[in-house]
């Protein structure tokens, strides 16, 4: 724990939009960068939404933090506040952007595109089409919304339009595919599992389930296993939970789309330090640094997992 106040030594902070394994991977990226670059960096994760994120940022300003990389919870409404932060310190965004603010750089990817990549996996898994349920933590997050829309648009073969929005309650029917609905769980794991179970109870002949938050696919697997329906219902995943990767190896999950949170973390610190020292940070005029999402299938899963473990210092 540091009591180092600003001025002498540069300190950086990486602020997430919640608490999640996703961010723990980012955290190891931050720590790695801090070690590599010889700087001090803290990771803060607000557990209670926008109100807490605001007071965290305020408190970081008080401490005199040199630079902050933040994942805004809702960019449109946080613009003014982010501008105030940007006035007092170096501000960049990561994971999700605040395009109208005075942030200097955005490190991330497009969730709509990632969603379409996930949708492509669904089509691969079900060449004949079928019925699909989407399970997600919550829907009011911009990234969740765009990701889900990307899946739907790709599966139904629609045009590229990130602003489209289908109501989550009612089914969306296409030629080959039917999206039965979208279930949210508010991060309650028991509820997430119950959602998967209830889906099986309600639609015994469902063809696939898509889990959009890191913990959804493992819980879908649990439900399927207990119902004796492993391999009967296809599972398409998002993110890189251990169980998800194991499922891909075992063949119970068709594939997953992974972002690169480790790089979000690493790059954030690298870029903040570069800006602080007045060096080039490698972003273009729009300040966007793209970190691609990848599709992981049975063929590349082992290599990916080994690399991930190395980064997390697990092996």
């Amino acid at each position: 724990g540091g009591g180092s106040s600003g001025g002498h030594k540069a300190t950086y902070a990486f602020v997430s939009n919640g608490v999640d394994p996703f961010w723990t991977i980012a955290e190891s990226g931050v720590k790695a960068a801090a070690a590599d670059l010889g700087v001090h960096a803290d990771v803060l994760m607000p557990a209670a939404g926008a109100v807490e994120q605001k007071s965290m940022l305020e408190d970081l300003l008080t401490r005199g933090t040199t630079g902050i990389a933040v994942s805004p919870i809702d960019s449109a409404n946080q613009t003014d506040f982010l501008n105030m932060v940007a006035e007092n310190t170096i501000l960049i965004t990561q994971d999700s952007d605040a395009p109208d603010s005075n942030r200097l750089v955005y490190i991330g990817m497009d969730n709509y595109d990632a969603g379409r990549a996930c949708g492509a996996l669904v089509k691969e898994a079900l060449p004949e089409g079928g019925s699909v349920m989407i399970l997600v933590g919550r829907m009011e997050q911009d990234n969740a919304r765009r990701r889900r829309q990307g899946v739907i648009d790709e599966v139904l073969g629609r045009s590229h339009d990130p602003t489209r929005f289908d109501a989550p309650g009612s089914p969306v029917v296409g030629e080959d595919f039917t999206i039965l609905g979208t279930l949210t769980d508010q991060f309650d794991r028991a509820k997430a599992k119950a959602n998967a179970e209830d889906t099986l109870a309600r639609n015994p002949d469902i063809s696939a389930m898509v889990g959009l938050f890191a913990y959804n696919p493992p819980l879908i697997l649990e439900a399927l296993e207990q119902a004796g329906k492993l391999n009967e219902v296809k599972v398409i995943a998002f993110d890189e939970a251990d169980r998800t990767l194991q499922g891909i190896i075992d063949g119970t999950i068709h594939g997953t789309v992974v972002q690169n949170p480790y790089m979000y973390g690493y790059k954030s610190i690298e870029v903040l330090k570069a800006i602080h020292e007045g060096r080039d940070h490698g972003a273009g005029d729009d300040g966007f640094i793209n970190i691609d999402a990848r599709q992981i299938r049975k063929d590349n899963v082992e290599e990916f997992w080994a690399d991930l473990k190395k980064k997390l210092g697990k092996e």
């Binding site: 309650d188 599992k193 251990d242």
Partner: protein, 340 residues
């Protein structure tokens, strides 16, 4: 059967009456959901419902003891978190031997409850504050030692997980989930303890009037401590079963809000927060009602999933209102008859 039930509900003579209203409500929700979606009654869904009710029911039975002694336990959800995250973390990440971890999982919560009880009785601190601090601390500690990492068993420990996910086949086409058997045993023991042993009687007595109980020679402090030990201990067991069922637990939100569900179930099932009344059967029916309502939303009203909690709240509220109005109508009728 009836007499067995009444043994579980005990000598408080309005016990059965209190439960009746909530039971009728439960039945109504059942019927409505079954009509809208016949899959609701399918054995797969019923088994799921029974398993969920059993897991949450263990929490409810535990907190009922605390409520009966006029206390409250807000730390349940965090104890669930501590155990639910701690067990896979110790076994998988730290490689501790399973029996040792299970022992800790069941023993540590009891120690926690003991500490709560000590602070509440010997230092006369308010239960609300003590257990609120518990709520904050145990989750915080869990987040601290795991570094907020998700813990889970992966594909291991299938044997142990049988306790949460296993089923005992019956001839009737419905398999009984193992947690239901566990809850049944706990409920019967709890019912006997509360209604057929002197300690249960002591708890009911001191919940009504602690001073008078003390003046009758009851060691009220010991009884109160015991209630908190039961409550935390069962929360630990529930936490263990939850993680065995779900297979992964994240420190930041595992068990979040479960104390409120448990307390709500107990209160719905006839426990008064003023202490001194409560039945085990009622608590289980209350728990079942909450679980069936959540299931109903997914089975029958998917379009309203967002408003799930609104519907649950509204159903519970109209249930207790209807119950109260019905009781009054009956009382009025009886009074009118008497006058003739």
């Amino acid at each position: 059967m009836i007499s067995f039930l009444s043994k579980l509900t005990g000598p408080q003579n309005d016990g059965m009456k209190r439960i009746l209203g909530i039971f009728v409500l439960l039945m109504m929700v059942y019927v409505v959901t079954a009509i809208i979606n016949p899959n609701f009654l399918g054995s797969y869904n019923q088994e799921n419902l029974i398993r969920r009710t059993s897991l949450f029911g263990i929490l409810g039975v535990g907190v009922a003891f605390v409520i009966i002694t006029r206390g409250i336990d807000l730390s349940l959800g965090s104890v669930v978190c501590l155990v639910g995250v701690g067990v896979p973390w110790l076994i998988i990440d730290q490689g501790w031997p399973v029996p040792v971890v299970i022992l800790i999982a069941l023993g540590l919560p009891a120690v926690i409850g003991f500490c709560h009880g000590l602070l509440i009785t010997k230092l006369k601190l308010q239960p609300f504050i003590v257990t609120l601090c518990g709520l904050l601390m145990y989750r915080g500690i869990t987040r601290g030692f795991t570094g907020d990492q998700t813990a889970g068993f992966g594909t291991e420990l299938k044997g142990l997980r049988w306790f949460a996910t296993g089923e005992i086949p019956l001839r009737i086409g419905l398999d009984i989930p193992v947690p239901a058997v566990i809850l049944m045993i706990i409920a019967i023991l709890a019912g006997i303890f509360l209604n057929r042993t002197i300690y249960g009687r002591y708890m009911l007595a001191l919940g009504n009037n602690e001073e008078a109980a003390k003046f009758s020679g009851i060691n009220t402090d010991r009884m109160i401590i015991l209630a908190y030990v039961i409550s935390s201990g069962l929360a630990g067991l529930a936490g263990l079963l939850f993680v065995l069922d779900v297979n992964l637990a994240q420190p930041v939100d595992f068990g979040n809000f479960y104390e409120l569900y448990a307390i709500a179930a107990a209160v719905l099932g006839g426990c008064s927060l003023r202490g001194g009344t409560g039945t085990i059967l009622g608590v289980i029916i209350g728990t079942a009602l909450l679980q069936v309502l959540r299931n109903m939303m997914n089975m029958a009203f998917l379009g309203f999933q967002r408003a799930e909690f609104a519907v649950i709240g509204a159903v519970i509220l109209s249930g207790v209102i209807a119950d109260e109005l019905a009781k009054r109508a009956v009382a009025r009728k009886r009074a009118a008859q008497k006058q003739k």
